[in-house]
């Protein structure tokens, strides 16, 4: 059976939702991975949202230096699928697994709402089952989701088909309306919206299920 690891840092708070989404949508073995662990036995890794170590320095900055992130780096460099959601995305940019950075929203306030997204590419393990230009809805909930990168990084993101999700109504000031990007290889995805909160008819949108179903299909085909 496939095993999906969900990393738990002190201060993670979307870990339970991610574990539940893996269980309910993928019917896979969902295991929490403690931040002190150095050995990962999993087919894919989720870095969930929350406030790792309180995010008191800068979102994601302290988590980057945790024991498990060294292992996650190796896992990603070997082609393992890694998805960072919200705080997970911030950790991925802080640790250099993804380019660019996430600044404070241009309103300077936390923003929690449902938001409409555009699928730019479906080439990642997490977006296979979307159609390009498909319009989807997911909630966002963050204070630091304003994606920024310098001109050459942006050019390379575009040239290498690394922009995965864009906002239809930019909520936070992100450059090029970017809501999610992947690395060149496509196996590492970071996104501010929360697919794990959009998996049931009870929560207005079920578009998040497609992220988890895509990953399942990708892993089963491997």
């Amino acid at each position: 059976m496939l095993t999906i690891g969900v990393v738990v840092f002190p201060g993670s708070n979307c870990d339970l939702d991610a574990l539940r989404a893996v269980n309910e949508v993928m019917s896979c073995n969902a295991v929490p991975l403690w931040h002190m662990d150095t050995n990962i036995q999993a087919d894919a890794i989720v870095l969930p949202g929350g406030f790792s170590y309180g995010d008191y320095l800068r979102p994601g900055a302290i988590a980057t230096h945790s024991s498990i992130m060294k292992t996650v780096k190796t896992f990603a460099e070997n082609g393992g699928p890694v998805i960072g959601i919200c705080n997970g995305f911030q950790i991925l940019t802080e640790s250099g697994l993804l380019p660019g950075t996430l600044l404070t929203n241009n309103s300077t306030r936390f923003i929690s709402k449902d938001i409409s997204l555009n699928i730019v590419t479906n080439r990642t393990p997490f977006t296979k089952l979307f159609k390009p230009n498909q319009q989807i809805t997911m909630p966002i909930a963050h204070k630091d989701g304003n994606y920024q990168a310098d001109a050459s990084t942006l050019a390379s993101l575009k040239n290498n088909d690394q922009i995965v999700f864009t906002y239809n109504n930019n909520p936070n000031g992100s450059v090029e309306n970017i809501a999610g990007i992947c690395n060149k290889e496509g196996n590492v995805l970071g996104m501010m919206p929360h697919p794990e909160r959009a998996i049931s008819k009870w929560t207005r949108s079920t578009d998040g299920t497609i992220v988890f179903k895509s990953l399942l299909q990708f892993l089963e085909a491997k």
């Binding site: 201060g11 936390f110 998996i199 009870w202």
Partner: protein, 713 residues
């Protein structure tokens, strides 16, 4: 006795005489500090306990009524729900960000202390109008504080209420509610059981912050009190998140016999309450208490209200496993004492004794015997009763009303709160009552936090009854039956006869409403002394109501589609809030109407349902239109009503519904106790009244979104 010291400790000379007579000697300084904390209004309910005893608290679903950290009800089988609302008014008035943040932290601790995982929060906010720059400053800080703490600690804030009135200008109200879910076997109480059991201190180090917080909350908020900024605590939501996880693991592994958070009056109240409830004693060594700075006096340690601290009483032999868990979560802890069989509270620093007296001395404080007597000179004036607005002013009246922040969208507030964490939020903030699906069960929970200070100021008995009825109406509009209530009772100075009159009338009104609605009170909090130098607040009982239902249907908010029949359930009368009276409430009719409406929703006969309450049919229509920006065309005979008086009437026991016209006969025949009045149909893009007016939805939406947020952006 030093009068200055007594004043600083918020004790009066009568109290002091009582203390000496109980001890049969002069108290030591630390002992006096203990009395000050335990006899404060906040901890002892000395003005309210007589009336609180009369509250309606019995119900089939009740597992734990008032008296614990939070009330507990059964959802189904071994699944329990625990919830409570608590005030943090004075701290928020002095330092809005930290005041509100620590209010959220405190109420969440009450929930996980019971062994429950906190799953949702709500906040009731009462301020002066945002056009006042001071109010704007306070509101901005309070919302930011709730957002900072709630989002980081990982508890979704799923709703609440915001009211404006000048009477809250000097003394705003910030009441925070939290809800948690637990399994029967994990329910823990704050009762010590075994002499010899070790007392473990857990969490943040003790500092000087929050000194005299309990007595700070128990006096009028004058200039001198505001200087006590040191009385406001500082919150660390990350530390609280670690406490949640560690505490829940410790409880799950059954390692403690009792547990209590250190809230108001810190170590004092938590140790006295746990030992006192178990009719046992406790011995504490202050040298073992983790301190943030050196040279903190014993009395300061005992009274500190530093946040994010817990006191555990370990089960024998489980101390090592507790340490392992706390080490995993990198939390500070220390064994600071043990439970004894002496019935005394003994406080030492090493071998130096600061206090050794029977705990019973601290219980049963001298009661406030102020009589409940109405002061006829206190009058409320209501201007602008909308009962005579001529037809040709209908449109201009509504456009003007749309600019009023009281009726505007509060998304500027709730968009700052993470409301979708735990992927269970069915109905989000902004519609009157919110709803969550309870993971792992076939149940959904409706939650609402409600008050109407103005109604209670005009008539505290009828007003409080109406507040309870409205809370239940909002729960029923989700299709869910009210189950139980928590309350936060915000009033003025309890040494005034009029305040006690307001309070006692409110309690009577609450009982008369809740006993008919079948929703007992299971927890709550009283906040007196909500007065500034010039103003006293409206008596403001805030009712937090929870309703439980199965998952055979999903409640809807707002108009879902065009071409639906729009109708009002219940007869509209020319009833308004006036200086001397409020709309009549027949609580039996209210209850019967609610039962019938719930069954319409459960049987999926209607498309949307909205409680008609504050702002009448107009505000119900407005909220319903704004969800998906679907309009409505009003087309019926107003008879002897002006359109505005029909739209703004606040007659009780009414709902606004929409439905497919094919369902009309079935709906009509299901309503046995109350009439159904069709008023129009939903339309694509405008609000219109036949032959009178039409306003584009886009224009309404713009005004609705800006009327409150324009003060901040």
């Amino acid at each position: 006795m030093n009068l200055e010291l007594l004043k600083e400790l918020n004790l009066n000379q009568e109290d002091y005489k009582k203390i000496v007579s109980r001890l049969k000697r002069e108290p030591e300084l630390v002992e006096l500090g203990l009395f000050s904390a335990m006899w404060s209004e906040h901890c002892s309910y000395r003005s309210s306990s007589k009336y609180l005893k009369q509250l309606f608290t019995e119900g089939e679903c009740v597992i734990q009524g008032p008296g614990e950290n939070a009330g507990v009800i059964r959802v189904e089988g071994d699944t329990y729900l625990t919830f409570k609302v608590e005030s943090h008014n004075h701290p928020s008035a002095v330092e809005p960000f930290q005041g509100a943040a620590t209010g959220v932290g405190g109420i969440i601790r009450d929930i996980f202390t019971m062994g429950a995982r906190p799953i949702a929060g709500m906040d009731a906010l009462h301020f002066d109008y945002p056009s006042s720059s001071k109010s704007k400053y306070l509101l901005n800080g309070v919302v930011e504080g709730i957002s900072f703490y709630g989002n980081c600690v990982g508890v979704p804030t799923i709703g609440g209420e915001t009211h404006f009135s000048e009477c809250y200008g000097e003394n705003p109200l910030v009441n925070a509610m939290a809800i948690g879910v637990l399994n029967k076997k994990d329910l823990r109480k704050s009762i010590a059981k075994t002499p010899g059991a070790k007392v473990i201190y857990l969490g943040a180090k003790t500092g000087r912050d929050g000194l005299h917080g309990a007595s700070f909350a128990s006096g009028v908020l004058d200039e001198e009190a505001k200087k006590r900024k040191g009385s406001v605590q500082v919150g660390d939501p990350f530390l609280e998140k670690l406490l949640i996880e560690a505490t829940l693991q410790i409880i799950k592994e059954d390692l403690v016999e009792a547990i209590q958070d250190m809230g108001a009056a810190g170590i004092t109240s938590s140790s006295v309450e746990m030992a006192g409830k178990g009719k046992l004693g406790i011995r504490i060594d202050l040298e073992k208490v983790p301190l943030r700075e050196k040279n903190i006096d014993p009395i300061e340690i005992m009274l500190s209200e530093s946040q994010e601290r817990m006191l555990l009483i370990a089960k024998h032999g489980k101390e090592k496993r507790i340490e392992e868990i706390l080490t995993k979560w990198e939390l500070d802890y220390s064994e600071i004492g043990e439970i004894t069989n002496t019935g005394a509270i003994e406080i030492y620093s090493g071998n130096t004794c600061h206090c050794n007296m029977p705990i019973i001395n601290l219980l049963d404080p001298p009661l406030n015997e102020t009589k409940p007597v109405r002061d006829p000179s206190i009058k409320i004036t209501v201007n602008d009763v909308p009962d005579t607005i001529p037809v040709d002013q209908t449109k201009s009246f509504l456009l003007k009303l749309l600019e009023n922040p009281s009726y505007g969208s509060k998304s500027w507030i709730h968009d700052q709160y993470d409301s979708t964490l735990f992927a269970s939020t069915v109905i989000e903030p902004g519609i009157g009552a919110s709803c969550i699906k309870l993971a792992g069960t076939n149940k959904q929970i409706g939650i609402t936090l409600n008050s109407r200070g103005l109604l209670c100021a005009i008539d505290p008995y009828e007003g409080t009854k109406t507040v309870c009825a409205i809370a239940a109406r909002r729960i029923s509009a989700l299709g869910l039956a009210p189950s139980a209530v928590t309350n936060c009772l915000n009033y003025g100075d309890p040494t005034q006869e009029h305040t006690i009159w307001e309070f006692s009338e409110s309690i009577r009104g609450m009982n008369d409403a809740l006993s008919v609605l079948g929703a007992p009170v299971v927890s709550g909090n009283v906040s007196f002394y909500n007065e500034g130098e010039l103003t006293r607040i409206f008596p403001t009982p805030v009712v937090g109501m929870v309703g439980i239902g199965d998952t055979s249907f999903i409640p809807n908010k707002g108009f879902q589609n065009t071409e639906l029949v729009c109708a009002v359930i219940g007869k509209t009368k020319k009833e308004f809030i006036r200086s001397d009276s409020i709309p009549h409430l027949d609580i039996t009719l209210e209850n019967n109407t609610q039962i019938e409406v719930r069954s319409l929703i459960q049987n999926k006969l209607i498309s949307s349902c909205q409680s008609v309450d504050r702002g009448g049919i107009w505000f119900a229509l407005l909220k319903s239109m704004m969800v998906k920006q679907i309009g409505v065309h009003i087309d019926f005979n107003f008879d002897d009503f002006y359109p505005i008086s029909f739209l703004m009437s606040e007659t009780n026991s009414r709902f606004l519904i929409t439905f497919e016209k094919d369902n009309f006969e079935r709906i009509k025949s299901s309503l046995k106790t109350t009439p159904l009045q069709i008023i129009g149909k939903t339309t694509l893009d405008e609000f219109s009244i036949k032959n009178i007016l039409n306003i584009p939805i886009s224009k309404i939406k713009q005004a609705y979104d800006l009327s409150f947020s324009k003060y901040f952006d």
